[in-house]
Subunit: 463 residues, 2 copies
């Protein structure tokens, strides 16, 4: 087997402490908490159910948002003829180094007349297709979205953050005016802010990227950036305004109200499975993950405690009395009946970041209560099982808020206001976080050129 | 542009009559009703929002079913090293002629050390991956599923039924005993029967395929087959029991309760976007689609009728009074305010197969009612808007039942009981439908060999 991965294949024994080595901690937690693994195909990951369920929660939330505002899901082809890819000069320059090519197919592996790119992103196939469906201004806007995976031949790899295949949504919209497209890109960025802040409990900076970091072919790129617990920033979603650049390359025009032909204005935008990596790095601690309740595959875990079969039966009877309430209330929960010691189960579910744990022993059954422990404070509270579903729903809401507040405080504690380039360089010598400063908007490489400042900008070391 | 599709790219003007030419009717309806089109990349389709929304309804329904019985969604890699693909002899023999190969990647299109297959199905990558997660009988069963697209280099193509890329779910499960795996494959087949019958309103025959039609590498293949309106059968879902064949090829074993190593027993099963084609061919008529309400993107369409601005305002005010009821009741509806004549709108929504249309004019507004027309009977009924949401919910339920009954009657009318091979040959000379007969189970090519019959079998011409 030649194409084995460079990554270690053995099981993680113990999780490295976050304070000892953040990068190792991250990889250990992602693997040990059963979110994802390297696949054995170089640079490509396998996302396991616990990680995929988080992504599914994100997809449901975002899909609801965009459908409410009139967007529609399509399925565009996975493979793109080379000629299509080559039409927008900046775009191909940006993506060509990362493309995987299908060159042969069929029984004798016959060579294709023209190579087909495995999509690195779909602008170049959607352009030629969508123009068929756009004749007049009455056909606009066209608000398309697609959930899929894309392939980019990255040389470095990191689970969820950078891999040769990742899963995402890519939105592509086409409008009759520049303003409408600019507004669309801004509206989507606000959805992304909501996904990050309201669902993942990660406060973000939302703004425009510098020209050097703008998406290939775009007029401007908007981004939401979150701060991870190692002080590095992570890009959590981007929204691009293309002006008429793609419309020009692919000849996508419409007859406007004056019956003149005009090129459309377009946008594209995406969030990906890297958001699962974001929630790991934004909330985790030495014990493992802390998962925001709104995207947690398991929100509440019940750990039964007993010594013998008789004790087990008693606890089981008790648990069965009130867990149907949880199911009816839509609380995602699990009862852990595995043959392990309670202490090992606690550590297991702490590692997996389940927000609330309920310990239930024989004495609890007698008293009609459970012992509730939350993953953030670890305080133990006795809770009567009468009305427990409503109580847990409230506790989960509170947990979501507290997690956000904790991350917001971390962001605030790691934000700085600096005036000169020397200060910035000195700062990043031993610190991370966001640095706010002034920028002329023109210098290519530095932020201070003594010309009058035009922009207030945020800087960070980033993933 | 060399790699243009063989398929026509122009818009469909009129829909061919079903009775004149079923195949052309099918393609015309799929394209004109905006379900899908050929993409310009040979053999690959683009699924448009109206078609994709039907697939989304199917995915939600099936995803709920499998999650309820403990299955979990994973994301396995798109690309599979050639060596992996080559391990199970029958399987590779079955799929090698249809594989598309990635052979080059990166900036200079450098040749890879080993070609990577774009997955035609994922048994060969899931096998080597899942074995990492299976040590003992306590790790079993492993019930995995994935929603994705696969590529098969087909030479013939037909929208939804046969294309080089299609979208599906592929389930792969691993068990500690043969019986458990056999039961799993059977349970999933019953889910597929439910998707076909309860959601798509297509009655199916559920049974086992003959050895010649068994999936490459499987011990047996179960299938659900529906009858299309041209008398041909369509395979609507298959569920395969592999015994230990894949486990042997990929060395997937576990320590059983006696602490001995044993190979696992596995299954795989899939339904795909071809189900959208199935509902078109099972229910359509000369006017176009008839969509089962449970998967209809638009269940109810409202067509306002007016002569002038004043009339329009009156109707608009009236419609706004009661459409919020529909939204609250979860009835998927649309009000068609386009600048078209009512007759053209009727034809448009009939073509798209919307189950119920509500015509609303000024006099209806005065009377506090609407004119309801259903796509099956086309009878017009006055319906008061008071309590209209509940009434429509009931009408949609009834519509779903009637559509199923109509298809069941068609299946019954096109099922035959025949005894000899000569009769069967004569039958298929000018008829379609299901033919029931007896089979020894051994003859490779024919159904009658004068040995005692072991099986009651159904025959059909098929897609």
């Amino acid at each position: 087997m030649k194409q084995v991965a460079e990554e270690q294949q053995d099981f993680v024994k113990d999780v490295t402490k976050m304070s000892d080595d953040f990068d190792r901690w991250y990889t250990d937690v992602v693997r040990k908490a059963e979110l994802a693994d390297w696949s054995g195909v170089r640079g490509m990951m396998v996302v396991r159910p616990y990680g995929w369920a988080m992504w599914e929660a994100i997809t449901r939330a975002f899909d609801d948002m965009i459908k409410e505002s009139g967007h529609e899901n399509w399925a565009f082809p996975l493979l793109i003829p080379r000629e299509y890819l080559m039409k927008e000069a900046e775009h191909i320059e940006g993506f060509a180094p990362e493309v995987a090519w299908v060159t042969r197919a069929g029984g004798n592996m016959e060579e294709l007349e023209e190579p087909l790119a495995v999509r690195p992103t779909s602008e170049t196939i959607i352009g030629p297709l969508i123009k068929r469906y756009i004749q007049s201004h009455r056909d606009l806007p066209k608000l398309t979205n697609q959930w899929n995976s894309v392939v980019r031949w990255e040389m470095r790899s990191r689970l969820f953050l950078r891999s040769r295949e990742f899963w995402w949504q890519e939105g592509h919209t086409f409008h009759a005016s520049a303003q409408e497209a600019i507004d669309e890109a801004a509206m989507i960025l606000d959805y992304y802010r909501s996904i990050a802040e309201d669902w993942l409990a990660v406060p973000v900076l939302a703004g425009r990227k510098s020209p050097a970091e703008t998406f290939p072919g775009a007029v401007h790129t908007l981004t939401v950036e979150g701060l991870m617990r190692d002080g590095l920033a992570l890009q959590m979603g981007t929204s691009h305004y293309f002006g008429q650049n793609f419309a020009r390359a692919y000849d996508i025009s419409f007859s406007n109200k004056e019956n003149d032909r005009e090129l459309v204005y377009s946008t594209s935008w995406g969030i990906s499975t890297r958001l699962v990596g974001a929630l790991v790095m934004a909330h985790g601690d030495d014990s493992g993950l802390i998962v925001p309740p709104r995207v947690a595959p398991v929100q509440v875990v019940v750990v039964p405690i007993f010594r013998d079969d008789q004790g087990r039966e008693k606890v089981e009877r008790f648990v069965k009395e009130w867990t149907p309430q949880l199911k009816a209330a839509g609380i995602r929960h699990r009862v852990d009946w595995r043959d392990e010691r309670p202490g090992d189960k606690y550590a297991h579910w702490e590692l997996k970041g389940v927000p609330i744990r309920l310990n239930v022993g024989g004495r609890d059954a007698d008293a009609g209560q459970v012992e509730m422990v939350d993953r953030l404070t670890r305080q133990k509270v006795g809770v009567p099982v009468e009305g427990i579903a409503r109580r847990l729903a409230q506790e989960l809401d509170d947990f979501q808020k507290k997690l956000y507040e904790r991350a917001a405080k971390f962001q605030q504690d790691n934000s700085y206001e600096l005036g000169t380039l020397d200060e910035v360089i000195a700062h990043y010598r031993d610190k991370g976080g966001f640095v706010w400063t002034q920028w002329c908007g023109e210098s290519g490489n530095c932020l201070v050129c003594n010309r009058p400042a035009k922009y207030r900008v945020a800087l960070a070391k980033a993933y």
